[in-house]
Amino acid sequence: MSDPKTLFDKVWESHVVAENDDGTSLLYIDMHLTHEVTSWPGFESMRNSGRRLRRTDALLAVPDHVIPTINQAEGIKDELARVQFETLLKNCADFDVPLIPLLDERQGIVHIIGPEQGATQPGITLVCGDSHTATHGAFGCLAFGIGSSEVEHVLSTQTLVQKRPKNMRVAIDGELPLGVSGKDMILAIIGAIGTAGGTGHVIEYVGSAIRALSMEGRMTVCNMTIEGGARAGLIAPDETTFAYVKGRPMAPGEADWDAAMDYWRSLPSDPGAAYDKEISLDANMIAPQVTWGTSPEDVAPIDGRVPDPAAASDEKQRDAIQQALDYMDLSANQPIEDIKIDRAFIGSCTNGRIEDVRAAAKVAKGRKLAAGVSAMVVPGSGLVKAQAEAEGLDKILLDAGFEWREPGCSMCIAMNGDILSPGERCASTSNRNFKGRQGRDSRTHLVSPAMAAAAAIEGHFVDVRSLAS
């Protein structure tokens, strides 16, 4: 019998076109998603070199980063952003690339529309010029972010030259407490392994708490794998996955479904398969998480406190904590619950799916935003928006004082005008609390949608489980 293999081993090995002498592999790419910010160099270079686009049927483009989330029909006001947006349209037209245009109901954040359209499938290799491509690994496919040069490589050859990463296993068993979500789980994992904990590895998430997650929750977990240093996160496909994929526009149709299922069912890691690194967490112990610093690993449970630099293990850590506290304007040992916020942002490829909007609306129902707090909810796609509106969630949120926007990346990266002012403090469901990420000198605390909504209602962080339903 052959050696037991991991899910990653299986997907990797079935996509190797050639092994190079130097230890790298030429890996075939089944699906390539693209957007306006990182695709133009590839098209420009193909034009200059006269190279052709190898496959148009394995490529899907959508604008998301720079588009406005109000009055989208009026177009893009910022000149540079408009030119970049129009360049994507022109490149797609010239090279015959399938494009989901602005104002189309299917338009949205690239990592939300891939799964929605059925472009994301178990067992495939999927790339995008964007680090949060890790999201798609929730379907048991090998999905990772690439730079612009690699985008061009895929456009021209449908392959990538890669060094094989190592396997890492993260097991989360037990049951998440009520009110605790996939977002809290992944923040707790990053807190445990650190932002470089997965560097050089692909992480496979296993365990009963992972299996219990919906596809939305799994995508949230895999999405932030990159914040744990790994380019790709994987979750073995199961009935939850198959039910999500079935019937989507780009998914295998009736004629192919059984053959696809046979392949997909062969993917989960074999018993006894070896990993290079393993950690485990008890889901029962995970509380709602809030980041206090400027790196996603700077995280604490809601009933915890901001750390004290004086208690750090070494000088480097002490400096890093002190720098973070200075930037965030927090003091050592301050209870997390005492941190007051100015804004809340609910959206992004981490938490812009229907379940996220539902979680926020559930908290907002019958309540009002705290005085002085403003909050916006940005659905991750037009389909999420339509679904939420069909369920009346927009009304609930609007009644509570939240803004209800049009889909896009929005304040996750603040390229489209949705931006924090210097000094403003935001409870954000996005994925990066880096200095300046949501606006220069702005302060970002990463939380789940329920926790962001609860903070917006109370005016400060609060355990969402303590709000009477």
Partner: protein, 203 residues
């Protein structure tokens, strides 16, 4: 593609861990459809105040580090966003080598593609180099990729490790796409086989 053989000049210490690509080059430089002039935006928020005036204390705003060719950094440098604007801006500024205890994976790949040499070195050694670089008298360093050595201002040298495939690509400035296109027959054969087994992946 640009190749890398040798490099000499001031090395600038940036003693911070987890420097992400948002800090290397912030979002406002991502809207353009050009790589030109990105050096101006390198470490933007560290270099300029709110009125866009240079902050005199920041290392790259001081002599002789304005002409830095080498950057010494803390662990996990280049984490976060996949933006290739990060190596483009380093290169445009003139920095073509970064030495740190560790780098994030996507940034690592992006640098090779742009002829920017990344040297992974243990923390204690990077610390020693930072101490030298901190002093304008001893901040000059010369890198010889072929010999895998860094010559310091006092004439002594420090060896470094690099994977052979990266060294080869950097030294020769190889264009990966041209090399891969020579494997066209193998790629087509892979596609034919995959299409027979999984026709739904071909639309």
């Amino acid at each position: 593609m640009k190749n890398f053989t040798t490099l000499s000049g001031p090395a600038a210490p940036l003693n911070m861990i987890n420097v992400d690509t948002d800090q290397i080059i912030p979002k406002q430089y991502l809207s353009a459809i050009s790589r030109a002039g990105l050096g101006k935006g390198l470490f933007h928020d560290f270099r300029y105040d709110m009125a866009d005036k240079e902050k005199p204390d920041f290392i790259l705003n001081r002599e002789p580090y304005r002409d830095a060719k080498i950057l010494l950094a803390g662990d996990n440098f280049g984490c976060g966003s996949s933006r290739e604007h990060a190596p483009w801006s380093l290169d445009d500024f003139g920095i073509r080598c970064v030495i740190a205890p560790g780098f994030a994976d996507i940034f690592f790949n992006n640098c090779v593609k742009n002829g920017v040499l990344l040297i992974v070195m243990d923390e204690a050694k990077v610390g020693e180099l930072m101490a030298l670089a901190d002093n304008p008298q001893s901040c000059q360093m010369s890198i010889d990729l072929d010999a895998q050595s860094i010559t310091l201002a006092d004439g002594s040298s420090v060896p470094f490790e690099i994977e052979s495939f990266r060294k080869h690509r950097l030294m020769n400035g190889l264009d990966d796409i041209e090399i891969t296109l020579q494997k066209n027959a193998e790629i087509s054969a892979f596609e034919a086989k995959q299409k027979a087994a999984m026709p739904w992946l071909y639309r």
